[in-house]
Symmetry: D2
Subunit: 334 residues, 4 copies
């Protein structure tokens, strides 16, 4: 199997290396318009040829593409993949423009190409174990779901300015997890947001702290609490109150060492950031991409999941702006 990777940045590097390490897979091409030492090193390490978008789509021997390039290129690459019949692994979001997202999703679904969205948390051992336990029936139904999502430190203003804002850039992952666990139509979305920690983010017109509350059509409740800065470092937790059990996913410590002194017992800090915390999830996700192409195995996140998570954050954005809850439903559009 031959794959091509678009993007030689941080997340591109993760996906390219994981793809190259899959058995029976050749990372044939790496496309990134900017000639950096990082791009050269990644090509050398993975054995990929540095090439162009045109060449990738012209090469019929390439079975699938990995879209890990800048956000504004995602939609165009998805459309070209749909036209050329190549399988796609695409990083979120599809597009910051929701109308374009909707159009691209329609086109990709119509084309019938296998397409997988990069919601790697679905492949994490802890989140997956929680979901499987719920699926097994032993927990009983979820009644209340709480999630936390905090970055170790706020991004620079330059990043914020092109990110689409905290909801679209970051909270989309949490929105996906909300859907992954609640699995029922969302009835209402209420969000509050504020700039509490980073004046730079405020100057860029964005928020850095938010809370979202959703209800489902049967009345179940979910909440997301997120911040661009977590004093404890990278903070990704979940708690599901189910009828019979409460499931809790804690942060993953960097080691199992704890240090006890008169001040108390100090546990090791959580894994530094998403690259470290989800290292294994990224490997498993790429294996799932290969399995999707090879065997037709359905991935845990398809392009429709990307669309729906984005629709949810768009509702949260509307709620945070208007101060009113959004009456959500299958037909709601921003």
């Amino acid at each position: 199997m031959k794959l091509a990777c678009f993007g030689a940045g941080r997340i591109g590097g993760v996906h390219a290396r994981n793809a190259a390490a899959q058995q029976g897979v050749t990372l044939a091409a790496l496309v990134d318009p900017i000639d950096t030492p990082q791009r050269a090193a990644l090509a050398a390490e993975t054995g990929a040829k540095i090439t162009s978008t045109e060449e990738v789509f012209a090469d019929a021997s390439i079975d699938g593409i990995i879209i890990a390039s800048s956000t504004n290129s995602h939609a165009g690459l998805l459309e070209q993949a749909a036209d050329s019949g190549k399988a796609v692994f695409c990083e979120k979001p599809i597009s910051l423009d929701f109308a374009l997202t909707a159009a691209v999703v329609e086109k990709v679904e119509a084309s019938g190409i296998p397409c997988m969205l990069g919601f790697q948390r679905r492949y994490d051992a802890s989140f997956l174990a929680a979901r499987q336990r719920i699926d097994s029936g032993v927990t009983g139904p979820i009644e209340q779901l709480s999630m936390w999502s905090r970055d170790p430190s706020p991004p620079p203003r330059s990043y914020v300015e092109t990110s689409g804002g905290m909801f679209r850039d970051s909270t989309i992952h949490d929105a996906d997890m909300l859907r992954f666990f609640l699995r029922e139509e969302i009835a209402s979305v209420y969000a509050v947001g504020a700039c509490l920690i980073s004046p730079e983010i405020g100057a860029a017109g964005d928020i850095d702290s938010l809370m979202i509350t959703v209800t489902t059509v049967s009345g179940r409740q979910g909440q997301i609490t997120a911040c661009r800065r977590g004093p404890m470092g990278y903070d990704q937790r979940l708690e599901a109150l189910c009828a019979n059990e409460v499931l809790t996913i804690g942060n993953q410590p960097q080691s199992m060492l704890s240090v006890a002194s008169p001040a108390g017992a100090l546990q090791a800090a959580p894994e530094n950031y998403f690259i470290e915390r989800f290292a294994q999830a990224y490997r498993d996700e790429m294996a799932a991409f290969v399995a999707m192409i090879r065997d037709g195995t359905a991935p845990l996140a398809g392009i429709r999941d990307g669309y729906e998570a984005q629709r949810l954050v768009e509702a949260a954005i509307v709620s945070a702006k208007t101060g009113q809850p959004v009456q959500f439903g299958a037909d709601w559009r921003p």
Copy 2:
């Protein structure tokens, strides 16, 4: 010092015993209209005389009263205490009728009697340590506050019917904690509620599961997640994201024993319910009542705190009913 206790039920028993155990304190009187074995035993154990409301207020040697009787008697007893100049320890709520609550608070404050509200969580070592750490400045300001409050099992329908509903009966404690930690004017209150676990509670017209989101005037965010049933038992936790640290208060296990087997390591379940979980807090609270009478020491919760916590849950009730956030502020009234 001589005290009288109104109410010989569960919480009355706790307060009466703790009062009798204070050095230099005599529990002189116990008032409960219903002649139960429990009342007789409590009187025997504490040495209190079973007597009447009239006798208590006619007895000038009684310095203070403990109001732990049924909710509908609180307001009247507070008024009589105000008239007679006796110090008061009063269980929440002041009255289920907010207008009456407001009137009683006015009268008590005007009378100048020392009056303390039974928000025992303010005296718990864990909650107090968190608050003191924040006061010390080391944590930096709170940005996001999350709280959970779950009972081990739902109350019977008969209790629910006279309770004033989950918000007024139970969530008022969490509302008080929200105020105790945020210490800033609340700007907005949004709540969702549903009956998810107990059809009996639904039949009584109440809810059993709720989430509340508040913002303060400076944009800080708080949330309460509560349920009338916690599969893990009694669940009282708090997490405060501050600028420099995240403070977490976990549940208190019944013992330090954990049992590891192939299934994993099983920690002891949390203390069974509020009587056990807050046993020490109740002792410390009663000591604070005695100190208030003896030395004039300000208690951690005064009657105004009872009023404000109730005002907050009234706003949550309005929000849950209308589906809209309430624009709160110092002047908001239900």
Copy 3:
């Protein structure tokens, strides 16, 4: 029921207060040869009369005595209690002189008086829950038992000099726990000891750090690791490897607050020292003393347990001195 307490020091204060708080119990007498403010305060608080040993034993209305006086007075008081037929609660050790201990135990047993030894850890909720779980059969038999015992800081040289040494003074509690859990004849005892942390203790001819390994006649293994100083504070833990489960008893934190920062998550330090850690165990132990007198309920630790625990530490002392394991058995004597 009327009780008398010998000793108005730290542990005497604990027992006197707990005795006075028992329902139906009057602490009638307090005996301590030294007139301190502490003695006066304890008498005032408990309502006990400060009196003499002679008066206590002459007073037929006194049902039982609590021996919490200095170690060298224990044996004599036990003998007088045996002569006068009063029930006894005695702090460990019976005597630092093993031959005297043996003689006193013989006499007390011959007299038939109810006699209970102050091994309060047997009444602690965590240690008791572990023992009860083993008794229930669910764990299967213990195979390997590990215990830790560390004080927050080393005692002063003056204390060490009259203490009988670390083994007799402190490790006797751990030896009792070893017996409480293993419940099988000990076959061998090996101990190493050193002075690693406190030159003062070394100057007094004692050790401050030790490890003991025992085997039972069926080959099961136990170990004690102890130190006069624990950097984490008071450290009392146990781990029992059983056939089906591993039971672990951790330290009890001072509160449930944990503080997460970039350094990691800091849990609250353990309860400060034995008075705080075993506060509830001391209450339950005194209730058991009262129940022993009132109902004849067998206590969890009798005078024979005091003798056996002391015999075990004597063997450890011999081993540590000779560098050889002691072949222990029912007949071994130091």
Copy 4:
């Protein structure tokens, strides 16, 4: 760099794959006398040629060899490597025959080849972090060291019969850790062993449960508690009492999911066994082997460490047999 791997079994597979994944490294040869599907798959996956011992040593282009074959082949391969000048990574033990181990170590050291022993725990993030913290000086010196080592289930009799016994086969890893942390000459070794859990192991003449106590020349104390079966699964923990801090290394859970129910909160079980628990340590260890060849970087464990750990377990074997402590020292030989 070209490497050869001897052994295509479980641990051979781990090392071969990790070697092949190193950048700039070719796994050129795989040697295993038995033609299994596992061997074929490993060769296919790593690109290694299945070949013979003779060919490997005849091929001057092979820089280093990985010895992961059966124990009785280790010594011979080490000698051939010494003769041929190839770098070696060797799994423990060097030989079950201590005299042969001593002779081989002499020869390897005399040859000057770079040689690294497979004590992977030295490369584990948790154990390494503990050691580095001690090295930093912040903890103060170690005073008491405790280690636990338990397998999820006892090995079959056939394995036991050729293993050299529990001390030589399994406890050698713990002996190495004892040395890695204590870093001082051992003065005495005392061990007890019994067959408590597996009659099959007893029938093979081996033990399944042991405790070791060591002292260093300055009086510091260490203990190992080990069992061929851990009810909680694979159990590898360490606790170091240092002057200022207590360091604890806990087991690594399979996920961060915990499940709370009325029974308590159940944490995920530890990683299944050493392959899973030390997956990252094995990767880092192989990277260290490559670095040793490429840059001359000293590995964390050299062949002398293999010799010394084995000498320590030989002393434990003598102690367990005789029931007496062994007076150890630099010159002690079994």
